[in-house]
Symmetry: C2
Subunit: 317 residues, 2 copies
């Protein structure tokens, strides 16, 4: 296949790009490098089966040549309001890439008769009132809340993707991606894992927001990418509805901090800062559908995943 | 003021246009006439203070001259899947006008330093689980459900409007419009009031979907338009959050049918057809905020409103 991958210079996108190339596909990446990093793709420079185009998919798209699959992964994705790479600092670009970018990429897929995969998110569930979240849960999102620039953009992207499937017969898939971690995360995007690892490597206190009792479910990026390609390759009439991809194993943010201190031998105490407003207390995927439809589940244990990620952050220093 | 009004050939848009002209403003209407009707504006032809441009606001917008206010009312709005003018038959145009149309009109407002008013909808509450709905209720919408092409487009439009207010300082307002009725509704858009009136005038049985126990709150269009201009003219820091506009007086669909039969002297029996899937059982505005902020509430009783609407439908025959 020749695959068009938007956001391919990002954390998840670049791993997905590597996997698609390893599976024998040709890949065209489009990325405007607003949150993505070209170094994530540097090892691919010069390959015949890889093309990088620096472009904003919220503008029009022109792709030279034929395309068999379009994967729309471009978007700011960190909720941290203090990071310059979080969507609270990039509200209009986030809204645009979710709506205009989705419209443009669906247009390419339709024109080319290509398969389409939308990177959606657990954020469409908002601050959920049901645990764990299955795909039938409609979510709890405030359309004018501070996180709505991301949440509503992705909800809109899902609605438009389903409309192209239902009314144009486009062969679409929607992955609802839960918290993911691994090498190539930005150390400065303000998420828990890179924050903690960066602080631990510097021997500084790990900053926990709120009590640390809020829980998260962390999926290692290789596991996630395996789920994504399984969804992309899957056939049948039941592949078009959204599929949760994430790790159902829940842990508190405080337990994660303690684990990372043990792993790195960091002896600095944990620092508690005021909680982020609108930070969900709990989010945990129900992955029954992914197991049944794709035979997929995470296989990398936290120790292994954290060690690989730690190695990456060490290499950056 | 010189006002740019998208969707000005539609049911609500054309009444709003009349009111703005009566208030001494100049009005530029943009409408692609997909669901709007040029006859709603025919009485304005030749006026110096009125300009009509047939154009799709989901494409770019060019507006000749200066604009002081932008009012975005363009969208299919009937949920009826059997009507060619309902959004289920116009899914992609509905998604586009809610996202691309909102983006373009916000861009005009920003470039011109104009005030902006978004026509949002009670549909952003979805199938609500709280009654009545106040503006703080975040709603219950399935992002991939059959109504999501409208609901998610409007939720996205609200998110983008608030982002332009918060990050570009644009002077924005959001009206969440509940069920409205009156002259210039399409007789063929599949909503309860025009359906019943058209059937009653033909002496046919009125078709009720389901048991008729589902409730609705119907606001007469003159009342609604009064609320809209009050919101447009209002000043202060608290005008930017969404404002419900509708009639809190609830009635069952069956009671409405019986009322219309009495009013028209129609003696045909009421016919019960299977319920529409995803039809909300109940929707009722809490208009406390509109009362407090705008001193607004509906004043037209149902008898008066129905008689005026009946007169309009009679004139069409």
């Amino acid at each position: 296949m020749r695959v068009l991958l938007t956001g391919g210079a990002g954390f998840i996108g670049s791993h997905l790009c590597d996997r698609l190339l390893a599976d024998g596909h040709r890949v065209v990446v489009i990325d405007n490098l607003v949150t993505g990093q070209i170094r994530n793709l540097a090892h691919l420079a010069g390959r015949d089966d890889f093309l990088f185009l620096r472009h904003d998919v919220s503008n029009f798209i022109f792709v030279p040549g034929e395309v068999d699959a379009v994967l729309h992964f471009a978007s700011p994705a960190s909720p941290n309001p203090r990071s310059p790479f979080g969507y609270p600092q990039l509200p209009i670009p986030t809204l645009k890439v979710g709506a205009l970018g989705t419209h443009h990429t669906l247009g390419v897929a339709r024109a080319q008769g290509a398969r389409y995969l939308l990177a959606s998110t657990s954020e469409i569930y908002g601050d959920p009132q049901v645990h764990p979240q299955s795909e039938s849960y409609v979510g709890h999102v405030d359309p004018i809340g501070p996180r709505s620039v991301y949440d509503e953009a992705k909800r809109f992207a899902e609605a438009m993707t389903m409309a192209y499937h239902r009314y144009h017969g486009l062969d679409t898939r929607i992955a609802r991606i839960f918290n993911t971690y691994g090498p190539r995360m930005r150390s400065d995007d303000g998420r828990a894992v890179p924050n903690f690892l960066t602080q631990a490597l510097a021997g500084e206190p790990l900053t926990v927001y709120g009590t640390g009792d809020q829980t998260r479910s962390f999926c290692y990026v290789d596991d996630l990418v395996d789920g994504l390609v399984r969804l992309l390759y899957a056939e049948g009439s039941d592949v078009h509805g959204p599929v949760n991809l994430g790790n159902p194993e829940e842990m508190t943010v405080l337990a994660l901090a303690q684990r990372i201190n043990r792993l790195t031998g960091n002896r600095a105490p944990i620092r508690f800062d005021p909680a982020e407003p609108h930070d969900p207390q709990q989010r945990q995927p129900d992955i029954t559908r992914a197991r049944d439809l794709l035979g997929w589940g995470p296989t990398t244990d936290l120790e292994t995943g954290l060690n690989r990620t730690l190695e990456y952050f060490r290499s950056l220093r």
